[in-house]
């Protein structure tokens, strides 16, 4: 949808800039204080890299970071694969079952995180499963897989049915069809779904807090920290730097394919 530019052009730009300032003010504060020589998060003393040093060398922080990444990667892989397969399965169903499953799928998304967390806690306790990596990964899969399905499914519907039928008619197995026909077509959406999963898992607090037992992830580590210190600021700065790299890359690399529609989600 495009609207013609009106005389309010200048105000809109200011508005956008204001919103972006709002979005980045705390980030800026985080980055600045990651270089603080003091542990304070309000008084900047002088420039120093001690927190970066601590980030890489303090066992507890690094363990939390690695745990977070590990759980996020595993959960993302499992969720994306199983979710995509499930979306494919659902797209072949009759309306009644399909709608039913899709609604059911929405449950973990709509359910308040704390209720999901608590329900999983009760499950693990009742089954007597010791809380640790396994329970945390299972919990993360549980709350990310619906997002995969919700992301992938619409694109599946858009895809040309005839291609699948043609492939099957020509003698390909269903698995072969999936691998060679369906997946290439929805590749972009799958990657979208995967990065969504990763973000959700990486940043998760509530569900991890209730199901992780003693495995610390970054959020739990922060929540149980007695006094705040800029170590995790250092981590965040690194992540933000990564994102800036992405911005620069995406703005300098020209899109080759004309069909590579940027409106695609």
């Amino acid at each position: 949808m495009k609207i013609k530019k009106t005389r309010k052009f200048n105000f809109s730009v200011i508005y956008v800039i204001l919103v972006l300032i709002f979005c980045y003010a705390p980030i800026l504060s985080l980055v600045i204080f990651s270089f603080n020589s003091d542990r304070s998060l309000t008084n900047f003393q002088s420039f120093s890299l001690i927190w970066y040093d601590k980030l890489f060398n303090d066992g507890q922080v690094m363990t939390a970071v690695l745990n977070t990444i590990f759980v996020a990667v595993v959960a993302t892989l499992v969720s994306t694969v199983l979710g995509t397969l499930a979306a494919i399965a659902i797209s072949r169903m009759k309306k009644v079952m399909r709608d039913g499953l899709l609604n059911l799928n929405n449950l973990p998304m709509i359910n308040p995180e704390i209720v999901t967390a608590v329900s999983l806690l009760l499950l693990f306790l009742s089954l007597g499963i010791g809380q640790g990596y396994l329970t945390m990964i299972l919990a993360h899969i549980t709350f990310t897989i619906p997002y995969v399905i919700v992301t992938v499914y619409p694109k599946l519907r858009e895809m040309d049915e005839n291609m699948v039928e043609a492939s099957l008619d020509l003698g390909a197995t269903p698995l072969g069809t999936i691998w060679h026909i369906i997946i290439p077509n929805i590749k972009t959406v799958i990657i979208s779904a995967a990065s969504l999963c990763f973000t959700l898992s990486f940043d998760d607090f509530v569900i991890s807090y209730f199901t992780a037992g003693t495995v610390n992830n970054i959020s739990i580590y922060l929540y149980t920290l007695r006094r705040l210190e800029p170590t995790i600021n250092a981590l965040s700065t690194i992540i933000i730097t990564g994102i800036i790299i992405v911005l620069v890359l995406s703005n300098t690399i020209k899109h080759k394919k004309v069909n590579d529609n940027e409106d695609e989600d």
Binding site: Y15, V16, I27, N43, S119, F205, I240, S250, E262
Partner: protein
């Protein structure tokens, strides 16, 4: 394929054989596809449905002295009777409502404005708005705590610009809503933007060509067409913000005791799981009712497949 079971001296074997044959039979492609979903169905069953049933079970039972289990509605009744608890639920909904409205008011104009830009710029701004999501939520909330505190930069700026005494922003509705709006903004911007960007330009042009004013076009054409996106965004903000733990804890100076904190207390501190489960059920029911009502607002509700 399973025929009648013959009671032969071998007992179950004919049935078992028939079941095995059923599982091993050559399947149609359609059936094969559906089988792909089995891991997911398992996950749904074990990790979603059963836990919910467990919660329900805990909510309607109560541990007895002799470890016997009594079916009871006491947990639910206790919630409504206990002083202040309904107030906590109301507070949570109130704050979440304000948060949702403020987020909507900020997100919608933003999405609308950037639809005008070149595609690449649109993508850039969307990325910029959603990039902070990669930074840990607790960290961003704590950062706001530093900014809003009496010793922080906001008060410093106010003092320098207007000569004001430092105000304590923390522990106010303002701080809590601000924190929540900040966290949930991308969740509102992105669905609205997706929706707005897909609205067929020709409809707008047609409306203008037919003589309608820009304002009229917006209210009668654009806005209604963008409602699914708005609804999507509202859903993604309303529910989580009512139940969040982090923002009230860090920005509320401990004075904000919302429903999430209450459930946390019952489960992790008091060990009153039955009570906690009942409160969770009440929360889910209330939120689903609110969600149902907001869905009614959307008259042009399309199929979910077009999301």
């Amino acid at each position: 394929m399973i025929g009648t079971v013959k009671k032969a001296p071998g007992g179950r074997s004919p049935l078992l054989k028939q079941i095995k044959a059923y599982i091993k039979r050559p399947k149609t492609a359609l059936e094969r596809f559906k089988l792909l979903g089995i891991p997911y169905y398992l996950i749904l069953l074990v990790l979603v449905i059963i836990p919910m049933i467990l919660i329900l079970f805990y909510a309607i039972t109560t541990p007895n002295k002799d470890d016997a289990i009594l079916l009871t509605l006491n947990n639910f009744i206790a919630f409504f009777q206990e002083e202040g608890f309904v107030g906590v639920l109301w507070d949570s909904i109130r704050i979440s409502g304000i948060t949702t409205i403020v987020t909507l008011l900020i997100a919608y104009p933003l999405a609308y404005i950037i639809c005008d830009y070149k595609l690449k710029k649109q993508a850039l701004i969307i990325l910029l708005v959603s990039a902070p999501m990669w930074v840990n939520m607790l960290l961003r909330t704590i950062a706001w705590k530093q900014i809003l505190s009496t010793a922080g930069p906001l008060n410093a700026a106010l003092g320098w610009l207007f000569g004001m005494e430092p105000i304590n922003f923390l522990g106010t509705d303002f701080a809590v809503v601000l924190g929540m709006v900040y966290i949930f903004l991308p969740f509102m911007v992105i669905p609205i933007y997706n929706n707005l960007s897909k609205i067929d330009n020709r409809l707008i042009e047609a409306s203008l060509d037919l003589g309608a004013s820009r304002k009229y076009t917006f209210f009668k054409v654009t806005l209604p067409l963008s409602l699914p996106g708005v609804l999507s965004g509202v859903t993604m903000v309303l529910l989580p913000s009512a139940t969040t733990l982090v923002v009230p804890r860090f920005l509320g100076e401990g004075r904000y005791f919302l429903i999430g904190n209450l459930i946390e207390q019952k489960f992790l501190k008091s060990g009153l799981w039955n009570y906690g489960a009942a409160i969770s059920i009440i929360l889910v029911v209330v939120l689903f009712i609110i969600l149902f009502l907001t869905k009614k607002v959307d008259r042009f509700h399309k199929d979910e497949e077009d999301d």
